[in-house]
Symmetry: C2
Subunit: 350 residues, 2 copies
């Protein structure tokens, strides 16, 4: 055991303070990573506040991690010291169940170990995330980050990126498809970039006309204002795919009406009740509503490779570790374009 | 024009009376059919009562039609006089749009012509259904009925049959899959028969323990009582596919929890709001909820051929035309196993 400086919440509150916590023991299959950057995801706030229940304190959040390999276990052959790597939402899974064999570790039947607030099944205790100097991760959950993209702006790819990439690939979005991205936040802005890069006709669907210019600069071909009933009618039955990033319960019916026959809307944000989904909106037109949760490790690597080839990163605002409470407040107010990333140098300096 | 005796409702009520209505003109592409049997579908009641709005009186219901060809237009080569044929929910569509070209006439972009209460786009007026002596239908919408199956019991295949067959085929249900059929009525009993014939492990899911023996005799391998919370927990995450035949709005969440990762529940009955579908039940497990509406003509023929090969028909109770109001009342009380079929000889005798 060694000590690593990390930021976390000790009590059921969002008051964070600097502390020393013990790093997990280093096994032969582990990779030790010095963290350079860590993105700030809305779920960090939920976990710190124990909104979902089950938070184990101290919570050290952070699952959008970019860093350099500083040590490898003796059975690690896929990474070397000095490699630029990433760690996303998971750090371990059973590797033997049907989901793991199908490269869907996020649905591990024995429960994937989440990067923070997860049960460490090998060494006991719970896991600590990326608001920290270092992290130790099983080699199967370490990702190669292309050297040509901005490392800090790549951090949110590990969660916001894969969360939006995975459904586009699962449902086979291709050149020429008409794709709507609903909601322009951390997830939505990546949905637009990916749909555009996949050469889909990309439509930003938002309640807010003020987001039009931003959406277009991110790659949207056009913007559909969901409160404009005439515009919604005009687009009725014309979408091949909808990526719904709205993070709270909402009325999905107006969006389902936008789908073509056999087309699909995928939810990635709303882990909440959706009010009165009308069965007719699915039956008449044989439409589909599905969910999607991050992505498997293989798919995450494919996404990172695609980002390297297409020079895609996230739009980020850099902060110091000491600014985290302000950042949390601004995220709650939707006041960030589009993701905060912590420069971990600031932790060392504190 | 000629006159055909038919049963229909003249006013906004379910009071039916015998009347004479004019048959549509006979075109070169038409097939004239003497109706032998016609199934009674719950939607017949909805249309007669104008529950969905838009009913045009007189309504002559009936879209589960079995009959003999009595005349063919000069451009008809796929049928001959004397053939045993069926007509389902549609009698025409544009044949040129993308949906029609994809054998999905039910989603014709220009609007399929429904068998009754539909707008006749060639000759004007509205269409009259199968509670009648004869019907004239475009050759593309006439189906061949295998001679080896009971013709009367085949009638409901044209609606209840294809409605349950289509989603099983669309979603690739295959041997060994664990398939749940939710709800045991006219649709559900066909869902069980088809899932069983496709060699799936077929589970009847019902609120009512009293339906156990019937479900097993129809081909269910086992019965899951949805009110039994322990049993539901035991089956959680184990189903490859769910066919939900419940005809009214309901809480779908307990059923979604039964699905495996990536598995699908298809709604075929509930053209109504579904209370508070929880987004987490789709996102966590990447599950899918879809709709399905009858089926295309090609698929309906495939279903009928499959029924011929596997000797599948519906479980029916035969009635005379004069018993229709009692039958409607009994359908409303769910008091039929599992479909009424009208013997049209009774109409001639009246």
């Amino acid at each position: 055991m060694s000590e690593v400086k990390a930021y976390g919440a000790k009590k059921e509150s969002a008051n964070l303070e600097s502390m020393k916590i013990e790093r997990r023991d280093f096994t032969n299959d582990d990779v030790e990573i010095e963290i350079l950057y860590c993105g700030v995801c809305h779920s960090d706030i939920h976990q710190v506040q124990n909104d979902w229940g089950g938070s184990k304190y101290p919570v050290v959040p952070g699952h959008e991690i970019i860093g350099k390999v500083t040590a490898i276990g003796k059975d690690v052959s896929n990474f070397n010291e000095g490699d630029l790597v990433g760690v996303g939402c998971m750090v371990d899974s059973c590797q033997t169940c049907e989901s793991c064999k199908n490269d869907l570790e996020q649905f591990c039947e024995n429960g994937a170990t989440m990067t923070y607030n997860g049960e460490d099944k090998h060494l006991g205790g719970h896991t600590f995330g990326g608001y920290s100097e270092k992290v130790v991760v099983n080699k199967e959950f370490v990702l190669s980050v292309p050297e040509n993209i901005d490392a800090a702006a790549a951090a949110p790819l590990l969660c916001a990126g894969i969360t939006t990439w995975s459904p586009l690939k699962t449902w086979g979005v291709k050149e020429g498809d008409k794709v709507g991205v609903i909601g322009l936040g951390g997830l939505g802005h990546m949905g637009i970039k990916f749909a555009h890069a996949l050469k889909a006709e990309t439509v930003m669907i938002t309640t807010s006309k003020s987001k039009t210019e931003d959406a277009k600069s991110l790659g949207a071909d056009s913007v559909l204002i969901s409160k404009d009933e005439d515009a919604m009618k005009e687009h009725k039955g014309t979408f091949d795919f909808l990526l719904n990033t709205i993070p709270v319960g909402h009325d999905v019916n107006p969006y389902l009406e936008l789908l073509k026959v056999d087309a699909t809307m995928v939810l990635v944000g709303a882990i909440e009740p959706l009010k009165d989904v009308h069965g007719g909106n699915l039956i008449l037109g044989r439409k589909r509503m599905a969910g999607s949760l991050i992505g498997g490790i293989k798919e995450t690597q494919e996404m990172l490779d695609f980002c390297g080839e297409h020079n895609i990163t996230c739009d980020v605002e850099m902060i110091d570790m000491q600014d985290i409470n302000t950042a949390f407040d601004r995220i709650k107010d939707s006041d960030v374009k589009y993701r905060f990333v912590i420069d971990m140098k600031s932790l060392k300096e504190s």
